[in-house]
């Protein structure tokens, strides 16, 4: 198997999806640009033309509604939002329309739609060019939410999202785009709703999302040297959540840390800790559940403040030590 970058894995998935199924099309800002969406759409315009690779004006709600309407009429659109921040404009079409449509009409019409949102943060971009909004989408009934952390999952989950019969919010992070790993050349799916253990351990369960999986693995490498053996779960799908995987791991380690690079209040960490606390596992815990997250503040511009704002492996290491000693 060859190694390719995360961004190339997305690009390969898009090429294969558009080639294999003429119901699939890509729409959104920057899809014909060589850099706007980080090289993920390279070559698509030349191969599939401007109708199936539709670069749009800045009209997030209108464009998302167009994708939802096309899904109602038989297509499997992928609508891309190059920054999640701008996706707030499209919340009406996502939350009021796409998410509700199947339920609201008694299951008559489903919306097979991929809502691809890119986290694009750091670099002193400040509060409106940095946001990670997975918790907001996860809150809404009718939406599935996936966050691939590896090139393999970036490809497999994108393909699974497009073939799902429901709206799926696919969130990736530009900080992942240069990660390289083995990815099969053929078209394949990673099942939505299944997490994965990235490192087996016994002392503490660290549940991480997206880019933070890599910080957690780095932390584990440090901790290992000190004789600490953490188990690392990559959630992969935020909703529907792989609860069994979480329960089995916590049952074994009796300690839980959740690492999600988004705001703490009502975040993914809060949801996971409540999910554990509602079970009898709570009584067996040997330490409090800890959340590593962003502070509840907007993203700053200053790189000095950014370094404080975004958690990393060092925060994970110190939190694990706090729990164990």
């Amino acid at each position: 198997m060859r190694k390719i970058k995360y961004s190339q894995a997305i690009n390969e998935a898009l090429h294969q999806l558009l080639k294999k199924n003429n119901k699939v099309f890509l729409v959104g800002q920057g899809v014909t640009s060589p850099w706007y969406v980080g090289a993920t759409t390279v070559g698509l315009l030349d191969r599939f033309g401007p109708q199936r690779v539709f670069d749009t004006p800045v009209s997030e709600n209108g464009v998302t509604g167009l994708a939802v309407g096309a899904a109602m009429a038989g297509m499997r659109p992928i609508v891309v939002h190059p920054r999640l921040d701008f996706m707030y404009y499209a919340m009406d079409q996502i939350a009021n329309h796409a998410a509700n449509w199947h339920y609201m009409f008694g299951g008559q019409l489903s919306i097979p739609l991929t809502l691809w949102g890119i986290i694009n943060r750091g670099g002193e971009q400040a509060a409106q060019h940095s946001q990670a909004l997975q918790a907001i989408f996860t809150h809404i009934p009718g939406l599935k939410v996936v966050m691939p952390s590896t090139p393999y999952d970036a490809k497999g989950l994108l393909i699974a999202s497009v073939y799902d019969e429901n709206p799926v919010v696919y969130i990736d992070d530009r900080w992942l785009y240069n990660f390289e790993a083995d990815v099969p050349e053929e078209i394949f799916s990673v099942e939505i709703g299944k997490g994965i253990i990235r490192r087996r351990g016994t002392d503490v369960t660290i549940v991480a999302t997206s880019y933070m999986v890599h910080e957690a693995l780095e932390a584990a490498a440090c901790l290992e040297k000190e004789g600490i053996n953490p188990e690392i779960i990559d959630l992969r799908t935020i909703k529907p959540m792989d609860k069994k995987l979480l329960f089995d791991s916590v049952k074994k380690t009796n300690r839980l840390i959740i690492v999600d690079a988004a705001w703490k209040t009502c975040g993914i960490g809060a949801e996971i800790s409540a999910t554990i606390a509602e079970t009898t596992l709570l009584k067996k815990l040997k330490a409090p559940i800890m959340r590593i997250s962003l502070p509840d503040t907007p993203a700053p511009a200053s790189s000095v403040l950014e370094n404080l704002y975004y958690p990393d492996s060092k925060d994970i290491v110190s939190t694990v030590k706090k729990l164990l000693y």
Binding site: V63, L66, A73, Y103, Q108
Partner: protein
């Protein structure tokens, strides 16, 4: 704004069909109003009485496979497109046999096989959806068209302008039908819009527009026929501004004339312009409608509505299991 082309001759059958359809919508809505007053129907209903000519004129010019997207004021569009009134009535009673199985109520009704993919309670919400359906037809090289019905209130929403722009950029087969009933909930149009000629706003998007008397079903039908044919043959979107008036208030069965929202004189003026009476006078004048034919039409409609009531009477409420079913398609 385009000037009207030579009036198309409308066949006797089409005239009768449109007359019957308007009566069907009127009688259905009157029955609903009666049953809201009885406190039998509690889902909020935005009644279509007074506006029947618009849905009827446009939908008569459509094929079954064309798509119609509707709003909170949804019953007229559903009925005019050919939706089953039995399942519609059951939906207004939130029964399991309703067209949305009791999950939707009055504002969310659909019958996909009839080209009714749904209606939204969010003002202007279905306008971009109609553009998307048109984009799907365009990509799949189908000659279907997509229609968005909306009120003048939707003209205040940004998504309206985004949708016009996208449809015109890609020359999509979508017809925007603005039912300008002069009120956005309780607000008169003059308090809502800077510039009340809506079609003029749309012209700047390089979209052909027609301003029509929305109480003249023949004028609506003729304009719709022309723009639908244009859209089918790749000439792109069009906009119809149909001026009309809703007899009832924004929601429910009251006339709202005693609340300082609008004058009794205005209401009476518009009731005199009743779209059904107007076509009826034309038919009688041209010897196209005898008293016995008229009676037969009314009897047929009354039977249909009685059947719809009987259908909902024989229907159950949704089961408990339905509460959490169909959030996702499995």
């Amino acid at each position: 704004m385009r000037t009207q082309s030579e009036p198309t001759t409308i066949s006797e059958k089409t005239l009768h069909d449109m007359y019957t359809m308007m009566i069907r919508i009127r009688k259905f809505e009157e029955k609903v109003a009666e049953n809201i007053i009885n406190k039998e129907i509690t889902t909020p209903c935005h009644l279509y009485v007074g506006q029947e000519a618009i849905a009827t004129g446009v939908c008569t010019a459509l094929r079954r496979t064309d798509f119609v997207f509707s709003t909170h004021r949804s019953h007229g569009h559903y009925i005019a497109k050919g939706g089953d009134i039995k399942t519609l009535m059951a939906e207004l009673y939130c029964k399991a046999t309703g067209c949305s199985k009791g999950n939707g109520g009055s504002m969310h009704i659909a019958e996909p096989k009839t080209g009714l993919p749904g209606s939204s309670a969010i003002v202007a919400g279905t306008i971009p959806l109609s553009v998307g359906a048109a984009y799907s037809f365009f990509l799949q090289k189908k000659d279907n068209v997509s229609v968005a019905f909306f009120g003048d209130g939707a003209v205040g929403e940004g998504t309206f302008y985004e949708s016009l722009n996208l449809a015109s950029l890609k020359k999509l087969p979508v017809i925007f039908v603005c039912e300008n009933n002069l009120f956005s909930t309780h607000m008169p149009i003059t308090a809502c819009l800077a510039g009340t000629d809506i079609y003029k706003k749309v012209e700047t998007f390089d979209i052909p527009t027609h301003k029509i008397d929305g109480n003249d079903v023949c004028a609506v039908y003729r304009a719709a026929l022309q723009v639908i044919e244009d859209a089918r043959t790749g000439k792109g979107p069009a906009f119809l501004e149909c001026t009309t008036y809703r007899w009832f208030g924004h929601v429910g069965p009251n006339y709202d004339v005693d609340k300082g929202l609008r004058s009794k004189e205005d209401l009476e003026y518009w009731m005199k312009k009743c779209p059904i009476k107007r076509l009826e006078r034309y038919l009688i004048r041209n010897n196209l409608l005898s008293e016995s034919k008229k009676r037969a039409i009314y009897n047929k409609i009354e039977n249909e509505i009685e059947e719809a009531i009987a259908f909902k009477n024989n229907s159950s409420a949704p089961s408990k299991e339905q509460l959490t079913r169909s959030v996702f398609k499995e």
